[in-house]
Symmetry: C2
Subunit: 402 residues, 2 copies
Amino acid sequence: MKAAGLVVEYNPFHNGHQYHLDQSLASTKADIAIGVMSGNFLQRGEPAIVNKWARTKMALAAGVDLIVELPFVHAVQKAEYFAEAAILLLEELQCDWVCFGSEQGNIEPFLDTYTLLKENTDFTSEHAKSYMNDGHSYPKAMALAYAELKKTHSNMLTLDKPNNILGYHYVSAILKNKLSIKPVTIQRTGSGYHDADLPLNSIASATAIRKELTADGRLQDVARFLPRTSCEILHDYQEEMQVWHTWEMYWPYVKLKLLTTPPDTLKGIYEMKEGLENRLISAAQTSATFLDFMTKVKTKRYTWTRLQRLLTYLLMNITNNDIPKELKPTYIRVLGFSQKGREYMQSLKKEKGHLLLTRPAASNDPILAIEQRSANVHASVLPPEMWQHVQKREYQPPVMLP
Amino acid sequence: MKAAGLVVEYNPFHNGHQYHLDQSLASTKADIAIGVMSGNFLQRGEPAIVNKWARTKMALAAGVDLIVELPFVHAVQKAEYFAEAAILLLEELQCDWVCFGSEQGNIEPFLDTYTLLKENTDFTSEHAKSYMNDGHSYPKAMALAYAELKKTHSNMLTLDKPNNILGYHYVSAILKNKLSIKPVTIQRTGSGYHDADLPLNSIASATAIRKELTADGRLQDVARFLPRTSCEILHDYQEEMQVWHTWEMYWPYVKLKLLTTPPDTLKGIYEMKEGLENRLISAAQTSATFLDFMTKVKTKRYTWTRLQRLLTYLLMNITNNDIPKELKPTYIRVLGFSQKGREYMQSLKKEKGHLLLTRPAASNDPILAIEQRSANVHASVLPPEMWQHVQKREYQPPVMLP
């Protein structure tokens, strides 16, 4: 079986995801689609609106054959690490392709950009240095140096679009690690990644869908942007759990933690740098809501996303020691599969059997222990019995497409 | 002015407290009554059902002239420390008497017991040793040795009643420290301290009142056990804050903390001994509610009260370093006063001015910093804006009787 790999968050699975899935299968003629999915917390440092099991169900219902978990320690990271860890996992899964959406829509510029940047490291680093001497920040200086190089190489990517950037990191991970997986890009259609408003057609960004859902909680207002099965699964989740998970719900935990933990202990949290702990404590003292708090702590340097990731680490109590040096997966954990996905896993057993996690409860991989913690933290805003229920779910078998 | 000191929790202030207050003033003919009161968390390791400001208002409305805060680090402690710290504070306040309720009702046996125990340390320690050799636990062996001594001294106290024990600790603190404050005991009337059911007369235990309130939240069912002013203050609190504070509400914080903190860090919490952290973590993994959890961890050795105190320390992040070696107060903090109480404080200024805390916000006493933390933790179950409000309240002036 030929497999197309997708790097996904499905928060929640919507028509745009369906289009991407269908196009990925059509353009590669793959037999199955495999999704590497972030678990309960996402790359931008947010709790998933519904937990990973519900999101796995949506993916399977829409036609993904296999959902494998991207561990927390790799998922809640800046784009570069996130992308490389996901690609390495797809490679272990012996995917033939990785299919990613991009504004660009053509794979050549991704490959060319990697090669050109590699050939011109001196050029870019010198230009960057000079821009920094002019007073620009490091990322800004790098962007300007990149633009300088692009002047004479029109085939280079336009790197100011979020999916182009992510795609570039996928391609770069493949070429850097000399992997056998082949990159394929699908032209994005409909809404931009960050668009916050709902469009007139049937494709809206997940951001806009979440915004609408969490504002008034009415599923019917976003139904036209979702496959029917996603709608049903979201409906059942809400009925059972009584919530859509948002940062605002976790705010009491964050606030109490900031106001009861000594600054020296907070300093031990992963990515808590440059006295940030004092800035957070002082903002927590004067903020009633998460929005208040974020508005107070956010700066150009400490972006919203970076702060959200930091607060996720704080909630989860992630320290430097928890983050592995290697991005290569230490295990493969299946969250769900279709019959075809199951057969694919069976065939993978010969070569990758040692990596397949069949009994999570029996494992003592520290990365998996953090996954358990993540399930606990994500569930901490549920009614007590539901929290308890989700906690136990963590040790149960994958979701099977009925 | 002559002052009668009372050691109180007023959780909430009820008719039994009114009787004790009236009797204390009548029997001593004191000009004013001063209450040393636990703040937001109580001796038995419980969140106060309403915060210290509401409880101060109830006390003032009922006729107490001055309410002074017993700091968290002394209040949430076993009876012996709690009692001694409270007495030392009343002594600094230059109270002429401490008036405590007891089942005994007569002060002589308290004084005699102290003297006799002091004279017979060899006798009791030898007997205790022998009982321990027979396999009894230390507290049980001490109780048996005490009973042995009492056989030949009928004037000794019966120490199996909670208020006799507390009273004995007050008297012992006075005699041990050679204080000038005089102990007076008031015969208790009506319900026992721990009685959980509501009686037919107008005096019910605070335990029974809280149980009824938190079960269905209806103030009218307990109104006959409370002064009208207490009722009004409780009503306003509930209307504003929307809650009665119970352990069950803090349970999500406790659970999340237990499930995200490494055992080695938990070990640093004050009174976390003998691998208790692992016992707590494992119970938290399988408990939906606080009641479930407590039922699982409770043993003969780790009593309900002892565990509640430990969980309070956990919530508050109290470590050994936070607990001062000395029980003597480092400051006197007034929570509220009547006009008479205010005059008394003025007259105290000459001698005790250095101890009087007039601007909490400007102090850097570490014991007071813990008080701020305690206000924060207690308020963490309120709606966000109310939490914020209570947090600020901590730095504002005392309550004045209107």
